[in-house]
């Protein structure tokens, strides 16, 4: 076996985790800290390999709590920095996520889900207080590389964390990608970053989630700081929605899916269209802010909206909020994992997805769905 060093600009066959690390470095990320956990582990491995040669640092943190803390410190100096994990690791990081958001630090989080059951965790978070993260959900490796660079841009643009949502397939399958630094336009300077140079002048800086300022400096105070955060989040909701739609204009049935499963749904819907079935799809690329408007428009006059996700039903709540009664919304996915619980199960199969879409396309929201396939290997 030969290994090929990823170099910017040249197309290489690479695993998603390598593509993500390569794209992050191309975007100027110079600090990463993480703790191994399948299927995120290789993301950490690739950062460990790629950061030192460009003068960056990757710390094999002693826990996820420490990993996110280290990223917090690196971000405070103005560096582009990131961390990541799976759902369990992210559960541990939640206290810091809340506070990093309130401190308005541009953290990027690479999240590789086990199974597909962490939509709520990613979009709602398990932390305290009024906070939100932008969430980008690539459907494949090429898009993961693109959205990784966008994540660093958006984080700096809004001074708000951005989470890139992948899964076992994002991290572990291979695709030929070429990664070049992308210029998304200017981002604000970071006069708030700490370096010690203004110490003793009365203008030293404080990076704080508490809305504090230094004594004698203008301060919003906690309440106005929190309100300003809400105003910023409202702006993000207006400005940053990203969504792809296909064949929705005359569709009678619309399927909503995100991430890796959406790639399968797109494929199946395109096939069914070729056979003359009036089906379409909506693929949210940003899970927050969520494309509620698009769903509102698309669902007008539609017979059924189906939601395909690999869990008991999480994103379906957002779909219902967007559709708002214009059409019945029904879940056509379900829990499906491999034997280890890390990967994806037999539900992620074009024939099976096709049967389920066809069932609601023919029979509407009340149609009986074929039984969920069972992972025979246990």
């Amino acid at each position: 076996m030969t290994t090929v060093e990823a170099s910017p600009g040249v197309a290489h066959l690479m695993e998603g985790s390598e593509a993500i690390a390569t794209a992050a470095v191309a975007a100027g990320c110079r600090f990463f800290a993480g703790y191994p956990m399948t299927p995120f582990t290789e993301v950490l491995e690739h950062f460990a390999k790629q950061l030192p040669p460009v003068g960056g640092v990757c710390v094999n943190a002693e826990s996820e709590l420490e990993a996110v803390g280290m990223a917090w410190g690196a971000l405070s100096t103005g560096a582009r920095a990131a961390t990541g994990s799976t759902g369990q690791g992210l559960s541990l990081m939640q206290e810091s996520f809340s506070e990093i958001t309130l401190a308005e630090l541009p953290l990027v989080i690479f999240y590789m889900a086990r199974g597909g059951q962490d939509y709520f965790q990613s979009t709602r978070g398990g932390g305290h207080g009024d906070y939100r993260h932008m969430v980008l959900a690539p459907m494949d490796i090429a898009e993961a590389a693109e959205l990784t660079q966008l994540a660093f841009h958006l984080a700096d643009k809004w001074r708000n964390p951005v989470l890139v949502y992948g899964d076992y397939l994002t991290a572990h399958t291979q695709q030929s990608v070429s990664i070049e630094p992308v210029d998304f336009g200017p981002v604000p300077d970071k006069p708030w970053a700490v370096n010690g140079e203004l110490n003793g002048t009365g203008n030293s800086r404080i990076v704080s989630p508490l809305g504090f300022a230094k004594k004698g400096q203008p301060s919003l105070g906690i309440e106005r700081h929190l309100r300003a955060m809400q105003a910023k989040l409202a702006e993000i909701e207006q400005a940053e929605v990203r969504v792809e739609t296909g064949y929705v204009d005359d569709a009678e049935t619309v399927i909503v899916a995100f991430g890796t499963p959406a790639k399968f749904v797109r494929y199946v819907v395109a096939q069914m269209r070729a056979e003359g079935e009036k089906v379409g799809y909506v693929r949210p690329i940003t899970l927050w802010p969520y494309p509620y408007e698009t769903l509102a428009q698309v669902s007008e006059g539609v017979r059924t909206v189906g939601v395909f996700e690999l869990c008991g039903g999480q994103m379906i709540e957002d779909v219902r909020l967007g559709v708002l009664g214009r059409a019945p919304v029904v879940g056509i996915g379900g829990i499906s994992t491999d034997g280890s619980g890390f990967g994806v199960g037999p539900l992620l199969d074009v024939e099976i997805i096709r049967e389920r879409i066809l069932a609601i396309h023919r029979g509407g929201a009340d149609a009986e769905l074929p039984p969920l396939p069972v992972n025979e290997r246990g």
């Binding site: 110079r30 600090f31 800290a33 640092v57 710390v59 943190a61 002693e62 826990s63 709590l65 420490e66 990993a67 803390g69 280290m70 990223a71 917090w72 410190g73 690196a74 971000l75 405070s76 100096t77 560096a79 920095a81 206290e95 810091s96 506070e99 401190a103 700490v194 370096n195 010690g196 140079e197 203004l198 110490n199 003793g200 002048t201 009365g202 030293s204 800086r205 404080i206 990076v207 704080s208 989630p209 508490l210 504090f212 300022a213 230094k214 004594k215 004698g216």
Partner: protein, 302 residues
């Protein structure tokens, strides 16, 4: 039915801190250059502002003022985040050492310190401080150890000494029921990545001067990239100890400092154990007493 009204209790003398006590001498400027105000919002008799002053003076005197970045935890000392004229990152309760790690890795030329209390560091964040020491992270971690959660109102921490009364050890910390106190400085001294470890105090002028020397050595060790340095400072918390304000220094000496013994716990890779520190402290006390007697004798011509 008769209801007995509680009788108003006589209020004891309150320590007036707005005027200097008679005979007090001014020994330094009202505030160090790296403080934005000479005021603080702490309780009268609190030891934490003294520790703050001492390390800020040490940084200034070493010429490190414009290269320093602080990371603060959550406790009463969090109030200093807004009054230190030093770039600062406000971390969560327990999490300052990893935040400091990220800062230092991106700014290796900066002098990075953390400020934590015993509750913050030894309870909530024990894993962080130990790993940061083990990594030999080139930062200086400062512990303000008052043996209680001061900020929440005087609760037991991992460093509370046996017999000490707190709001959740009402009859005193009992080893069988509450477990034993942790001697965090001693523990860190054992870790290979730690280069300099010391425990000072602010309960009298001599201890304050000694603590300032400790801070200087710790910051110098960081300047020379020697690895992790650690200064623990015993501080008075009359409020959390439920004692009269003026009794703080003596209480500190007789309870906290009996267990968390003051001295340099590791210098140039050599660890000093409790017996050695006690012997050293006894020798110093005897020397001081002898000097005092000699001075007195010289003055009186005896």
């Amino acid at each position: 039915m008769t209801v007995t009204q509680p009788q108003p209790q006589p209020v004891g003398p309150v320590l007036d801190t707005s005027v200097a006590p008679p005979g007090a001498k001014k020994i330094a400027d009202l505030k160090p250059d790296l403080l934005l105000t000479q005021e603080h919002a702490m309780c009268p008799g609190c030891g934490e502002p003294i520790a703050l002053r001492v390390y800020l003076e040490a940084l200034q005197e070493l010429g490190l003022a414009q290269r320093t970045i602080g990371v603060a935890g959550i406790g009463c000392y969090t109030a200093f985040s807004g009054t230190m004229d030093v770039d600062l990152v406000q971390a969560l309760h327990g999490r300052a050492p990893s935040v400091a790690t990220g800062v230092k890795r991106m700014k290796p030329e900066a002098i990075v310190f953390t400020l934590q209390g015993d509750g913050d560091m030894v309870n909530e964040g024990l894993q962080e401080i130990l790993h940061t020491a083990a990594r030999g992270e080139n930062v200086t971690c400062i512990l303000l150890n008052n043996g209680v959660f001061g900020e929440t109102g005087g609760h037991m921490t991992a460093t509370t000494v046996l017999g000490q009364r707190t709001k959740n050890s009402l009859d005193g910390r009992d080893a069988e029921y509450h477990g034993y106190p942790m001697l965090i400085g001693d523990l860190i001294a054992q870790i290979q990545g730690a280069s300099y470890v010391a425990r000072g105090s602010v309960h009298n002028a001599g201890a304050v001067a000694r603590t300032k020397r400790m801070f200087k050595r710790a910051f110098e060790s960081q300047m020379h990239n020697e690895g992790f340095s650690f200064v623990e400072v015993l501080t008075m918390c009359p409020t959390g100890w439920f004692i009269p304000t003026g009794d703080g220094p003596d209480y500190l000496q007789d309870t906290l400092a009996e267990v968390h013994v003051i001295g340099e716990l590791k210098v140039d890779g050599v660890v000093h154990n409790t017996e050695q520190l006690v012997a050293e402290n006894t020798r110093k006390a005897e020397e001081a007493a002898a000097n005092k007697a000699r001075d007195l004798a010289a003055k009186t011509g005896a």
